[in-house]
Amino acid sequence: MKERIVHDLSHLPLHGLGTASLTWWGTCAFMLIEGTGFALSVAVYLYLMSLAPAWPIDAPAPDLLAGTLLTCLLLISLVPNLLLRRWAEREDLHKVRIGLVVMTVAGVLPLIVRIFEFPALHVSWDDSAYGSITWLMLGLHTTHILTDVVDTVVLMALMFSRHADKPRRYGDVSDNVMYWNFVVATWVPIYICLYWVPRL
């Protein structure tokens, strides 16, 4: 087939940011997958609750301290996270590096608190369906924190390497910021489910 050039693309930027970036859409799609997973786990929780004559099953309601502390940590971590996005948009390498270090710490701290959350449930995963679903939800969310921390660490290493100062990298940082927001956002319904629904 003959061709007729009607359009010139050569002036286009070499990397799109935000919605013009494929990674952004990929991250969104993965968040949709995982969000559905979280929503379903909440649905399972409520379903099991609706069947049980008493909820929690054979256990006191979980202690609030560790969970609430973790919630606070996650919410506070949004501040450096959003700052990091601003710095990434400005392509300010120095500040992005600082931001990533801060976010690594902000990711590891909740993991430490999470260790105390499991015993605070006062139930083991094999005690009852209540124990199983609470451990599942907590475990699922822990995996997300863990994944994002590893991601942040790798990104931090990258930003301290010679590959750092590229628009693509700043796009990656923005996507990482978005993903952390997602990790925090999904925690809120889980926190309510795990800690406050049993107290209803």
Partner: protein, 642 residues
């Protein structure tokens, strides 16, 4: 055309396709995009066409294997009290048949056709996240091998393809059989989700300039809706299969009623995935049919907008139907009535599709080539399957036919009639694009006759068997039940059906080796995949087409408007806006990499060993993390440097 326009302000100083002659441009594009013919090249390719082909070929191998199992079952059921296969083996066989066909054939093959065709149909050079695509294939292959090696070792799952608890649970399914089933699910869902993400990003962001939402080929729309269905539905089965493994391995109580769990929870989770699953298989087929009919009718599809709306409506409705698989579990009657109404209402979008197709044929001048023959066979069969679908959607009626051969007949009508017939049509239609060679029209008609007659001979009598009280999943039945004659007829017809498939595969392989050359557009089809050579070069299009109508190859005469200016020495493709497909950026596309292969192997090891010990999740994640870092760490290639 040697575009040697003056250079403008460029983002980089590398040569673009307008700076050199066409031949030179093609040579350099090939050097940039081609996969080297080495073992490493084979393992590390990220070309969507090569991976798509592999995916399709592997899925068809699983179709053959699953089909052989079906023949074994028909042999056993041909006579009452036959002793060809014992109950233990038979239970494994029907579970393997269902699981293979659903998880290793139907869903993967539909996605794989999308992987191959979607980038060509929307005029881009590769799929989004091509390394994820490679990873997806290797994961799918591992899952399939896991299942089939287990079967060969007599530890194949024996709990049915929907693995109801408690039968599949820790108490009643000793050994690793059910775990292998559940983990095979994880493999295939991981693979399917990866492809869904790629397709969504590709379709939304990589369309050729000018391909606004109302100019997207219907097949691409279908793949988009399918991908969203996968994204929304598959997490349910991931949760279901993971909780099943947890129940079996570490003693969680999700499905133990004595400790607050519930057996029906499994059914809810499974069918919340399982019903959309049917549409995940069916919607791509709708897209194929909607693409094939206009070509052979010689006119654009009638009712593009209603068709697309019907696709979306079907997708949304499919999440509101799952309880119709549970009408005999004694759920509250009000809820059941709601699901009856919703299940029946899905007949309306299906009707829209059927009527639009018939209208297109009516208005056009149909040429009854083999692909169209199969499409007609599809309408004939699928509408019948739809009618029995309406029957099983009625709660009281379902109490008589649920879990009988009536249902077996019904879902083979909608799955074979509704998806496999269009898929065979698609093979006849698109294989010339894939291999560059035509399949035989003469053999095609024989194949159609054999498959069509064999199919109806096999599955139509099953309706009667069901009404006569024959439950599904029985390995034998007693002579006095009076089912012997029909079953023998069914088994003989299955041989005809198998002969049809055998001839089809012979023709496909023969054609791919020595069929007549096809040329770029043998059917005079309107969509973009026919604008490039057959088979397409590694870079798909020398220049990105510019789309000005829904049927670009029909409306543009002999000359295709294209966009120049993409780099030819580095993998680059065009990112465009979601609604109007206005160019937004020249994005680099990842190069070949061996890391997705290693990541898939590491993931496979983690998943398989985690059947045996929960600690595998901990230590198995270390190699996974290492391979993923290897995958994403920049290697200093031109593609990384933007």
């Amino acid at each position: 055309m040697t575009g040697n326009r003056n250079a403008r302000t460029r983002e980089d100083d590398r040569p673009s396709d307008t700076d050199v002659s066409d031949a030179e441009g093609e040579r350099r594009l090939l050097a940039t995009w081609a996969t080297p013919r080495t073992l490493k090249g084979v393992l590390s390719t990220v070309d969507h066409k090569i991976i798509g082909r592999r995916y399709i070929a592997t899925a068809f191998v699983f179709l053959i294997l699953g089909g052989l199992l079906a023949l074994a079952m028909r042999l056993q059921l041909a006579a009452p009290e036959a002793r060809f296969i014992g109950p233990d083996r038979y239970n494994q066989i029907f579970t393997m048949h269902g699981s293979t066909m659903m998880f290793l054939f139907a869903v993967p093959v539909m996605e794989a056709v999308g992987v191959f065709l979607v980038p060509l149909m929307i005029g881009t050079r590769n799929i989004a996240f091509p390394r994820l695509n490679a990873f997806s294939y290797w994961i799918f292959l591992s899952g399939g091998i896991l299942l089939w090696v287990s079967f060969a070792l007599d530890v194949g799952p024996d709990v049915g393809w929907f693995a109801y608890v408690p039968l599949a649970g820790p108490e009643f399914s000793p050994g690793k059989r059910a775990d292998i089933w559940a983990q095979m699910i994880t493999f295939t869902e991981l693979a399917a989700l990866a492809v869904a993400v790629e397709l969504v990003a590709t379709i939304l962001k990589q369309r050729a300039p000018g391909m606004s939402l109302d100019r997207i080929p219907v097949f691409v729309w279908a793949m988009l809706v399918t991908s969203f269905l996968i994204i929304m539905a598959m997490p349910a089965i991931m949760i279901a299969s993971s909780t099943l493994i947890l129940d079996r391995l570490v003693g969680t109580q999700f499905y133990n009623p004595a400790e607050g769990g519930d057996a029906l929870l499994w059914q809810h989770l499974f069918w919340f995935f399982g019903h959309p699953e049917v549409y995940i298989i069916f919607l791509p087929a709708v897209g194929m049919v909607s693409t094939i009919i206009p070509t052979f009718a010689g006119r654009p599809i009638f009712g593009y907008l209603p068709l697309v709306m019907a696709l979306i409506a079907t997708g949304i409705l499919s999440f509101g139907l799952w309880v119709h698989h549970m009408f005999t579990t004694g759920l509250p009657r009000l809820g059941e009535s709601f699901f009856t109404a919703s299940s029946m209402s899905i007949a309306i979008p299906a009707g829209v599709q059927i009527f639009c197709w018939i209208a297109t044929l009516w208005a056009g001048r149909p040429q009854l080539k083999t692909p169209l023959l199969f499409v007609c066979g599809f309408i004939f069969t699928f509408v019948l399957g739809g009618m029995t679908g309406v029957m099983v959607a009625s709660v009281p009626l379902d109490t008589q036919v649920h879990d009988t051969y009536f249902v077996v007949a019904h879902f083979h009508y909608v799955l074979i009639g509704g998806a496999l017939f269009p898929l065979i049509a698609a093979v006849y239609y698109w294989l010339p694009k894939v291999s560059g060679r035509m399949m035989s029209e003469r053999l095609g008609r024989i194949v159609f006759a054999l498959i069509f007659l064999g199919f109806h001979g096999t599955f139509f009598p099953m309706h009667f068997l069901g009404l006569m009280g024959m439950p599904r999943r029985v390995y034998t039945y007693q002579p006095e039940m009076g089912w012997g004659g029909l079953n023998l007829f069914v088994s003989l017809s299955a041989l005809v059906l198998a002969a049809g498939f055998l001839l089809f595969f012979i023709d496909a392989i023969r054609s791919a080796r020595s069929g007549p050359l096809a040329g770029p557009n043998p059917w005079n089809a309107p969509t973009l995949e026919w604008a490039t050579s057959s088979p397409p070069p590694a870079y798909n299009f020398r220049r990105i087409p510019v789309v000005t109508s829904a049927n670009p190859l029909w409306d543009n005469g002999e000359t295709l408007p294209v966009a120049g200016g993409l780099n030819i020495d580095r993998r680059e493709l065009l990112v465009s806006s979601v609604v109007e497909a206005l160019p937004e950026a020249r994005e680099s596309s990842p190069t070949d990499s061996i890391w997705p292969f290693w990541a898939a192997m590491a993931t496979s090891i983690l998943l398989i060993t985690s059947i045996f010990t929960p600690w595998a999740v901990v230590w198995g994640s270390i190699p996974v993390a290492i391979t993923l870092i290897g995958w994403f760490w920049p290697k200093g290639e031109p593609e990384d440097e933007a």
